[in-house]
């Protein structure tokens, strides 16, 4: 596949084809340029790499296992299914990979205060954790709706010493929390580093978060080659929070089918979904050009997913590029399908996945029947489901 072997993005202007870039108020340009030049120096610095690797190993418990899902494989009776266990990371999700990388970066930048946005609360918890460990002040912006449905994570952040700032504007979810975090950064950028939790925002954030999350894919590649002597046929991940890019990116030049799953909410034939890549169109939002769910007059849509972490009208600009180039295929699953998958995975494998992750699992119902027994599918288990128990219980009325 010649198009894959040439893959080397973003370009020097932070673009993935026509997507990405740096659409922000002038105040933020200088901090973004500083962040970029500091990061590009550190990226290849052996001391920085060693420090981050040591944190991964000693603090967050990496490498995470690649688990053969024997029962789930039997259930479908087709391709072999392996699970990359990011749910076993310290704090319960892949988010810590990025938070630790960025906290080291913040220290090199000489910043004393950290801000973050959070949807499901997992990124907020990871940022609060990293701040506690490194003695930094931490403020996390979170939509009021999300504070309700992820109340346990609100308490976790507070216990870790972070201030959780409720966001009452707009849909009171991840989009609005991100707006407020950016406004805080515009105001306090001389003292504050903004740890964006996903592969979104202005350049260099989508690149930095991707690079820090790529540890998932790098480990996966080693582990599957060790277990099976070859690369997988398929990798499935939910599109949200950088876990998908993290596992896809190291495989981007390989002959592996990469599948990203978006949240279809109540269904893509309703207006209550978050399927930005499936139904959005080119827009400029949160500092990036990307696929965006928007109304006729260019106002950003109010979107819905049962999963707070996927409840976002945009998507990382690299995903937009990968979709247009057919390097990754994107599909969507509904709230109900995700809930069914949560039940299935809990009861077959003894793993309660996060509702975000459950979207990836739900797609197995569509993917597996078309596979054969000599094929291999890897699912990225981006996080564990403890934070979602209230939502799941309400839905299942157990």
């Amino acid at each position: 596949m010649p198009s894959k072997t040439k893959y080397n993005l973003p370009d020097e202007r932070g673009k993935y084809g026509k997507y990405g870039g740096r659409y922000v108020p002038e105040t933020l340009i200088t901090p973004l340029l500083e962040l970029e030049s500091t990061y590009l120096k550190l990226r290849d610095d052996p001391d920085f790499i060693a420090e981050l690797n040591s944190l991964h190993h000693e603090y967050s418990g990496r490498p995470t296992p690649l688990t053969f899902a024997e029962n789930l494989t039997k259930y479908f009776n087709r391709a072999k299914i392996y699970l990359k266990r990011e749910d076993l990371c310290h704090t319960g999700a892949h988010k810590i990979n990025n938070a630790l990388g960025q906290i080291l970066l913040a220290q090199k930048l000489g910043k004393k205060r950290i801000i973050a946005e959070t949807g499901a609360g997992q990124h907020g918890v990871a940022a609060a954790t990293a701040c506690a460990k490194f003695g930094m002040e931490c403020a996390v912006y979170m939509g009021e709706v999300d504070m309700g449905r992820q109340s346990l994570n609100v308490f976790r952040m507070q216990l870790l010493g972070a201030e959780v700032i409720p966001v009452k504007s707009g849909s009171r979810t991840l989009k609005d929390a991100t707006n407020e975090a950016i406004r805080d950064w515009v105001t306090n950028c001389s003292t504050t580093h903004y740890i964006i939790g996903s592969v979104v925002g202005p350049h260099p954030y989508p690149m930095i978060v991707r690079d820090f999350q790529s540890v998932i894919g790098i480990e996966t590649k080693e582990q599957i080659v060790k277990a099976e002597g070859r690369k997988p046929n398929y990798i499935v991940a939910c599109v949200g929070g950088g876990n998908a890019i993290g596992i896809f990116y190291p495989f981007i030049n390989d002959d592996v089918k990469l599948i990203g799953i978006e949240a279809a909410g109540f269904g893509i034939d309703t207006d209550k979904h978050c399927a930005s890549l499936t139904l959005g169109r080119e827009g400029i939002f949160h500092g990036m050009k990307t696929y965006l769910l928007q109304k006729n007059d260019g106002q950003v849509s109010e979107v819905h997913s049962i999963s707070a972490g996927l409840d976002y009208p945009g998507v990382g600009p690299e995903h937009s590029y990968l979709k247009d180039k057919n390097l990754v295929n994107y599909f969507s699953v509904t709230d109900d399908e995700a809930i069914e998958a949560t039940k299935l995975i809990s009861q077959t494998e003894g793993i309660i996945p996060a509702l975000e992750t459950a979207h990836a699992f739900a797609y197995l119902e569509k993917l597996l029947p078309g596979t054969s027994k000599d094929e291999i599918v890897i699912v990225n288990v981006s996080g564990r489901g403890d934070k979602d128990l209230n939502t799941i219980r309400e839905k299942l009325e157990l």
Binding site: Y23, V24, E26, K175, N188, S190, K289, G298, V300
Partner: protein, 265 residues
């Protein structure tokens, strides 16, 4: 050739500094907005910045966020904004500038937007989330004949101020604080920064905005700039329940009086 810069030069030539007033299109009332804008001009505003609303205005503080949200809820679209601009510019020689975020423009179609803006009589545009890095892609092809006003902020280094001055048409918008729009309790004027900008621009006139709300603010910046921009203070005044309309016009009269030739410095 720039209507905006000619207008500012002319005023400055008479020893006068200009007052630019920001209004959110269709706020507080969709039906009577054109009348409000004309009354604001008659009260002494030299330039008018008409904000077209966006759901996620990153550079704005709570007051303009609220007015923007209210305008969206009032059903204000870009088509309405072009009608306002046309009605206003038909009745004044003062520059009418359209201000808003990149996404509604991209969504409307950049070429189509520029054509409609020109046909409506707009003098220029301010799009705060399109920095000079994205300037060529966004503006180069379609926006000739319109002023494209760029911003400098306290975080902008000197060399970059020069680049921005080079690209900007109409004036340079000098953002006096690192932060969002709006009134500040501890208003500390940032004269040092404004002077730094002054020494690094050569092509354009310079107007100071963000956080300017009181006669004191205007007086402190007046000697160092070619004019001032007031937004949130006007919007806030329009939000007051009782008799706010006339008080708003009175505020504008008061601010303009301070900028006239011979007024106390």
């Amino acid at each position: 050739m720039s209507l905006t810069s000619d207008y500012i030069k002319n005023k400055n030539g008479n020893g006068e500094k200009v007052l630019s007033i920001f209004l959110t299109a269709g706020f507080p009332d969709k039906q009577s907005f054109t009348k409000l804008a004309l009354d604001v001009l008659n009260a002494g505003a030299d330039l008018l910045e008409i904000g077209f609303p966006f759901s996620d205005p990153l550079a704005d503080g709570p007051i303009i966020q609220q007015s923007s949200q209210a305008a969206i809820e009032n059903g204000v679209t870009l088509d309405d904004v072009f009608i306002y601009v046309k009605e206003i510019s038909n009745q004044t020689d003062k520059p009418v500038i359209m201000m808003g975020y990149a996404n509604p423009v991209l969504n409307f179609g950049m070429e189509r937007f520029a054509k409609r803006a020109k046909a409506s009589g707009a003098a220029g545009v301010i799009i705060p989330d399109v920095p000079i890095e994205e300037y060529d892609n966004f503006f180069e092809n379609h926006f000739s004949g319109l002023d494209v006003i760029l911003l400098v902020t306290p975080t902008t280094p000197n060399e970059r101020i020069k680049l921005i001055d080079e690209k900007s048409r109409g004036f340079v918008y000098c953002v006096s604080v690192s932060g969002t729009t709006g009134m500040r309790k501890e208003a500390k004027s940032n004269i040092e920064f404004v002077e730094r900008v002054r020494t690094h621009i050569s092509k354009n006139k310079m107007l100071v905005g963000f956080g300017i709300s009181t006669p004191d603010d205007v007086e402190s910046y007046k000697p160092y700039c070619d004019g001032v921009i007031v937004g949130s203070a006007v919007i806030k005044s329009l939000m007051n329940e009782n008799g706010s309309y006339n008080e708003t016009l009175e505020l504008i009269r008061k601010l303009k009086a301070l900028l006239l030739a011979g007024s106390h410095e």
